[in-house]
């Protein structure tokens, strides 16, 4: 049961949705598939006054070629995207991350836009209000301390989108439409690298489309999790290569996907490249697996992935 009360509106254009947001400024949230938002509302992590359902905006459900890019509407369901021939042919990393996302039933409800804009997760945060209150509110809930790392003044929740991690290796861009302007930026630039407020998106902005350069890539995605379905990643590693340039991204070990470029031959340079970034990221004990194990698995999965992709490309 949802205890918090809110109004519900279903506009049919982006303009109407943004206008509704402005009328309820500060109290409105956008709803797409709801697989991230509705559980958060149920847990009292989100207490909106108005839920604006974007699913009435049919324009955002299309996949089309536009110039040198494939344009994916943000409301395209993950399961449908996985069946798309262009994705199958050009973007193996994305195909693999879509397939690894949660389970088929939730892929049929969740959308690509919602998957990208999911909130960061922590086992001390994604809990009921009763549970959180008894522990004392953490930084991400507006409290003064981190419940995962005693004494810390920074939030360490993990950004767990499988697909944003692979999209970063594909140099994806996103279109944002807001009250004052529309803009198109690199997906990597929507992140703040702060787990308590992970996105630099302005109030009222809607992620309307994802653009991926139309190039045939080699790639893949490796996901660390306890069971092979439903679970969020405890570490996600994506790799894509095109025209001799390799891009590796690490997900679920911080507030954003961490991207690094690899020099050829990729299989030889991946270990050093990953070692260099390990100093900059600090997974903590806030998932069901221990920090040290997750950290140790980063070079292992990265190397395994790159080797497998390069083997497949031969």
């Amino acid at each position: 049961m949802i205890t918090s009360k809110f109004e519900y509106k279903k506009p049919s254009t982006v303009g109407e949705a943004v206008q509704l947001y402005n009328e309820f400024r500060g109290k409105a949230v956008y709803l797409s598939g709801g697989t991230d938002l509705v559980p958060r509302i149920k847990l009292g992590l989100e207490k909106p006054g108005l839920v604006i359902d974007l699913k009435g905006i049919k324009l955002l459900t299309q996949i089309q070629e536009e110039g040198d890019f494939i344009k994916i509407g943000s409301l395209v369901r993950l399961f449908d995207l996985k069946q798309n021939e262009i994705v199958k042919n050009l973007f193996p990393a994305l195909l693999a991350s879509l397939d690894a996302t949660s389970c088929e039933t939730l892929q049929m409800t969740g959308t690509i836009g919602g998957n990208i804009l999911q909130d960061c997760r922590c086992i001390f945060y994604n809990q009921s209000e009763f549970w959180r209150r008894s522990k004392g509110f953490c930084l991400k809930m507006g409290g003064e301390k981190c419940n995962a790392v005693p004494g810390a003044k920074t939030c360490f929740a993990n950004y767990c989108s499988d697909n944003a991690t692979s999209l970063c290796t594909l140099k994806a861009e996103v279109e944002l439409v807001g009250p004052d302007r529309s803009r198109r930026i690199n997906l990597q630039d929507i992140y703040t690298n702060k787990s308590d407020k992970p996105f630099s998106i302005e109030p009222g902005e809607i992620l309307t489309s994802v653009f991926i350069p139309k190039e045939k890539t080699s790639g893949g995605y490796e996901k660390l999790r306890v069971r092979c379905a439903i679970d969020y990643p405890l570490l996600g590693v994506a790799f894509s290569s095109v025209n001799g340039v390799g891009r590796l991204a690490l997900g679920a070990v911080g507030a954003m996907p961490y991207v690094l470029e690899l020099q050829q031959p990729f299989a030889d340079t991946v270990t050093d490249a990953v070692d260099a970034i390990l100093n900059k990221i600090s997974p903590v004990n806030n998932t069901v697996l221990e920090r040290d194990y997750r950290k140790r698995m980063i070079p292992i999965l990265a190397k395994r992935l790159v080797n497998n992709v390069m083997e497949g490309a031969k």
Binding site: F6, K10, V51, M108
Partner: protein
């Protein structure tokens, strides 16, 4: 909180309902329509025991608002077959003993129904993948998978 008027077709019957904006489909089914086949397990979309078909697609009814579904066709376990004319999946779940405590069963059967509707002859791997959307805490997955295989071949034989 203003009530919203929603038209649904539930198990073949068109109905018009007044719902609260914060009412989930699971609440509507169980509390307004007294269809208690769909179960609330985790209530957060993880376990799959609340799965019903929305326009033919398996959907977690505990994390979808009824307000979102105006104009949709809903099939719950009650509408899949009746006592004299069971769905092949209901029959095969019984025949194979694919039911232990039974709590996950309605969700399991509707997930399987969604699979067989889109893919009438799935491989064992495809069945495992589809059925891994649902959790059985009695952990009796082997017979569940066998039941889905049996229903698929029964249906193939019917055609």
């Amino acid at each position: 909180m203003e009530q919203l008027k929603v038209k649904l077709n539930v198990n073949g019957e068109p109905i018009e309902l007044q719902v609260k904006p914060n009412e989930t489909l699971l609440n509507t089914l169980r509390e307004q329509l007294e269809l208690t086949g769909a179960k609330e397990g985790c209530g957060l979309g993880a376990c799959g025991s609340c799965t019903v078909l929305v326009n033919g697609v398996p959907t977690r009814s505990c994390i979808i608002l009824t307000a979102e579904l105006d104009g949709s066709d809903i099939i719950t376990i009650e509408g899949l077959g009746d006592e004299r004319n069971l769905d092949p999946l209901q029959q095969s779940f019984m025949d194979k003993g694919a039911v232990q405590c039974g709590f996950c069963t309605p969700g399991m059967i509707l997930t399987a129904r969604g699979l067989l509707n889109r893919n009438p002859s799935p491989s064992r791997e495809e069945i495992l993948k589809a059925m891994s959307s649902n959790i059985c805490r009695c952990t009796g997955y082997k017979k569940i998978v066998e039941a889905v295989e049996t229903a698929a071949s029964l249906e193939a034989g019917d055609k």
